[in-house]
Symmetry: C3
Subunit: 150 residues, 3 copies
C-alpha cells in the first residue's frame, strides 16, 4: 500500500483544488449578502432594520443564489472526502490530477450558469453531472479497493 506524503504531486494537486472549491463555496455567502443588500431583502428582522430593508423569503434572485449555495454544500464537501480517500487507492498521477481539474472547472461553471448568469438547460445539468459522476467513480474505486474491510 502506498504512503501518502505532502511531497506527493497528487496530494499537492488535491490540496490546491479543494482550497479553490472551498473558497468558492464560502464566497457564495458573500454573493447572497451582496444581493440581499442591493435588493433590500433579508431573512431576519434585525438585518432588515440595520439596512432599512424588508423581511422576504421569496426573492427570485436571492433564492437562486441560495439554491446554488446549497448545491455546493451537497457536492463540494463530498469531494473533500472522496478525493482524499481516492488518493489512498494509489491511482495514476496524471489521471487523478485530471479528474481533480475537471471536477473543479465543472463546479465553477455550475456556479456561473446557476447563480451568476442563468442559462437555459441542459447547460447546468451537464456542469452538475460531470463532477457528480467523477465522485461516484471515485466512491466505487475506493469501495473496490477496501472491500475486505467492510
Amino acid at each position: 500500500m502506498i504512503e501518502i506524503t505532502l511531497q506527493n504531486p497528487i496530494v499537492q494537486s488535491y490540496i490546491i483544488h479543494v482550497t479553490i472549491l472551498t473558497a468558492k463555496l464560502l464566497l457564495m455567502a458573500t454573493l447572497t449578502t451582496t444581493i440581499r443588500m442591493t435588493k433590500g431583502v433579508f431573512q431576519n428582522p434585525e438585518d432588515a432594520k440595520l439596512f432599512r430593508g424588508e423581511v422576504k423569503y421569496d426573492d427570485t434572485t436571492v433564492e437562486r443564489v441560495r439554491r446554488a449555495h446549497l448545491n455546493d454544500l451537497e457536492n463540494i464537501p463530498a469531494f473533500w472526502l472522496l478525493g482524499a480517500l481516492y488518493i489512498t487507492t494509489g491511482p495514476w498521477d496524471t489521471w487523478a490530477i485530471l479528474l481533480f481539474r475537471i471536477f473543479t472547472v465543472s463546479r465553477l461553471v455550475h456556479t456561473f450558469v446557476y447563480a451568476i448568469c442563468p442559462m437555459p438547460q441542459p447547460i447546468r445539468a451537464i456542469a452538475y453531472a460531470i463532477p457528480f459522476i467523477i465522485m461516484l467513480y471515485m466512491a466505487v474505486q475506493i469501495a473496490l479497493f477496501y472491500i475486505t474491510a467492510i
Copy 2:
C-alpha cells in the same frame, strides 16, 4: 500516542463506511431529481421548461426527500470528522469498527424510513438518535483525550 496508517484495520473500516455513507448522501440528489421528473415539479424555470413541468416548492414527496437529504448533510460530514479523530485516540479495534457499522446501518435505515417508505414514529427518531449518540460519544472521547490542547 498511536501511529495512524492505511494498514490499520480501524482506518480501513472507517474508509469503507464513510465511502458508503457519502455515496448514499450523493444519491439523495438523484432520488430528488427522479421524483421531480416523475411528478413534473421543479425549482427553476429553466428546468421546468426543459421537462415541460411547473415550478413548485411545496410538493409533499419532493420536500420529504429534501428534508432527508438535509438531515444527511447535518450528520454524515460530522461523522467523517469525528470518526477520523476518534481513531487517533486509539480505541479498541472491535469496538470502533462496531460503532462504524451501527452508525452506517442506522443512517441507511433512517433514509429508508424517511424518504423511501415513510413509517410512523418513533422508528425514524430511533434511527436518527443512535448515530447521533455515537457521534456525541466520539466527541466526548476526543475531547477528553486532547483536553490539554485547548
Copy 3:
C-alpha cells in the same frame, strides 16, 4: 516541508477546536427538536401525530434556529478542511492556535446571538465576519503555498 504528527501542538489544538465546533453543530439539531416539541410545530405528519402537534413551516423561533444551523453547516465544515490544510503550510504555532481559538469563540458567539438570545445587528454580522475572514486568510495562505500544484 514539515511532517504532520499527532504530537504537533497545532494538530492537537486543531483536533480539540474542531471537535468542540462539531459537537456544537450537532447540538443545533437538538435545540431545534426541543423548540419544536415545546411549541408543538413539526415538519412531518408522523412527527406531529406522535407529539400531538401540527405541521408548520413558518414558526419564527424554529426557523431562526434552523437558519443558525444552516449557517453553521456553511462555515464549520469549511474550517475542518481549511484549518487542516493550513497546518501543512507550516504556520507559527502560537499564531495558528490563536486563529483556531478566535474562530471557535466567534462561532459560539454567533450561535448565541443568532439562535439563543437574538441581539440587534451588527453583533451577529461581526461574529460571522471574523471566522469568515480567518478562513479566507487560510485559503489564501494554502493557495500561495501550493500554487505550483495547480
